[in-house]
């Protein structure tokens, strides 16, 4: 069976004034459909970089990155956009459109799919409740704590009902109690037969994983 995600000797080198940084150095990896992969390792070892390659947010300097058996590195921009449309991505830095209310942010990925505004509002409210943010749909991102932003990021990743989730340290800013809501969501998502890849230091998430990849 074709792996859902695959890398073959993938390298990512960042060129900077102070010299080249090898963020990823020849990673080969196959993630089957329905797997739960935890990517661990010390800071700066390329967890975020690997997730960016798998999520078509970046291209490898050398080597291959495949999604559903198709090369992503050399694919056209529209093709990569279509791949992203099938994924839910939780970013480490929880970027948001700062002046838009939370409900808009959570369901912004649905705009180009033509989902009506009322439907988006309803969906956003339900998703925000799932991550423990209740009655604040109209709040702006700037009013949130770091942990709350992180949970909004998780809600947004789930909005488009993706076939896989790539989550970059989704519980890093959360206490055990609030992290539990996120963990439960990922567990449930995985239980429905879909693929989960998380970069994490969280032993609870690591314990959920069917596989662990340790970088560095």
């Amino acid at each position: 069976m074709t792996p859902h995600f695959e890398t073959r000797n993938a390298c990512r080198v960042f060129r900077s004034a102070t010299g080249d940084v090898r963020a990823l150095d020849g990673i080969s990896l196959a993630v089957e459909r329905g797997a739960f992969l935890a990517v661990t390792g010390p800071s700066g070892r390329g967890k975020t970089t690997l997730l960016a390659l798998l999520g078509a947010l970046d291209r490898p300097t050398s080597g291959l990155v495949l999604f559903d058996g198709e090369d992503l590195g050399g694919a056209s921009e529209p093709h990569r956009s279509r791949v992203r449309r099938r994924l839910g991505i939780v970013f480490q830095s929880s970027p948001m459109i700062e002046r838009l209310p939370l409900w808009e942010n959570v369901t912004y990925p649905l705009v180009p799919r033509g989902v009506p505004t009322r439907e988006r509002r309803r969906l956003a409210k339900a998703l925000l409740e799932r991550v423990g943010i209740v009655g604040r749909d109209a709040a702006r991102p700037e009013e949130l704590s770091g942990g709350e932003r992180q949970r909004v990021g998780v809600a947004r990743a789930l909005a488009a009902d993706p076939e896989a989730i790539l989550a970059d340290e989704p519980t890093s800013d959360l206490d055990r109690g609030t992290a539990e809501a996120v963990v439960a969501l990922l567990r449930e998502f995985h239980a429905s037969g879909r693929t989960v890849i998380v970069a994490t230091h969280d032993p609870v998430l690591e314990a959920l994983a069917t596989r662990t990849l340790r970088l560095g």
Binding site: D58, E77, R84, G114
Partner: protein, 428 residues
Amino acid sequence: MRKLAAIARTGLVAVLLHPLRSGATLLCLVAVLLPYVAATGVARGLADAADTSIRAGADVYVTGLRFGRPAPVPLAMIETVRTVPGVRDVFPRIVGEVALGADRIPAVVVGVPAGRVPDSARFVEGRLFAPDAGNELVLGAELARRLSTGVGARIPPFYRSRSGERVSKVVGVFRSDLPLWEANLVFCSFETAAHIFDQEGLATSLLVACEPGYRDAVVAALRRLPPPGQPHGGTGSGPPAPPAPPGLPAEGAGLPAEAARGAEPGPVTPVVTTRDDLFALLPRGMSHLEGIFQIHFVLAFAALIPLLMVTAGLGLSGRRREAALMKATGWMTDEVLLQAMVESLVLSLLGASTAVLLAWGWLDLLDGSGIAGIFLPGATATPGFPVPFRLGPVPALLGFVVSFAIVSAGTLYSTWRAATAAPALALR
């Protein structure tokens, strides 16, 4: 379709999302569009008013030339013109300049026989001058205001005449919404005007009305007429005299002083000008000024392109992050561009309509202070009277199209750059 509408809506919201950028762009647009829209509005308004007054005027005008300059026409010519087949009516008119009051305010005196007053001149406070009543004047509203005079007031002699000066009486004042050039008008009977200028037996022009369908024949016959007092004819059709002021077509600017006195003047060459000649002349004068203004406008806009590019780039790092986030969450590049396009469209539309609205306020409420003078020699920086204007859709549309081209060029380029970069790099 629903998808496009949804994206368009986010573009609309984006205008409010970046208030600094939107505000600066709007300000730039209005700064350039406002003078443009206002100026073309005045130019068109004047052309319209001139058009109306030519339409209301005579079919054919007969004026005179001496030394190649405008000269009065002897009244004796009236009888000659009347005999031309197809002529329905002929009457003389005097148009001249005087200075009134202690401030020597320039005014244009127009004298026509009582009973020949054009319909357009019937809107007066008080009444029109009576026939044979001697020095009854109807004043333009602006002139009456500047002279601080009104209906019933008397004006001491302001001219010298061999038959003796008389006190004049203001019997009427034009309503202020009359065409511009009537603002400084002194309207009186032909006899009064002849007395004021001390010119018996002369007119500045003859106004000829033709039977339907006879105009060309009348013009041809009039051009073949011998100059008065010169039996061995010559063809007398020089170039038509430049019509100034508009609305009082084909006249010299008053009576040359040397023509007024002295012994037997020589023959005058008649000049025949038709209504169509005036139509051909007047708008050209207007659109010439408008053209000059357009050139300045293009230069101003060219200078503004870099400025608009800068404002379009305001908040660029934020936009770059937004575009990256949208791309990262599954938007296609063209969808991100469509959003930016709608945003530019809304801004240009807002800019153009704000400019039209402000131009209307400027011209209607402020009488075009500062801009009317470009088109109206004699109008001061603050005209103080209603300036005719017409705000048509074409300048507004043109302004909008140009703004949209420039704003969207700036916005689309930066958005395209952001949307095609790897999202991971902008989202770190």
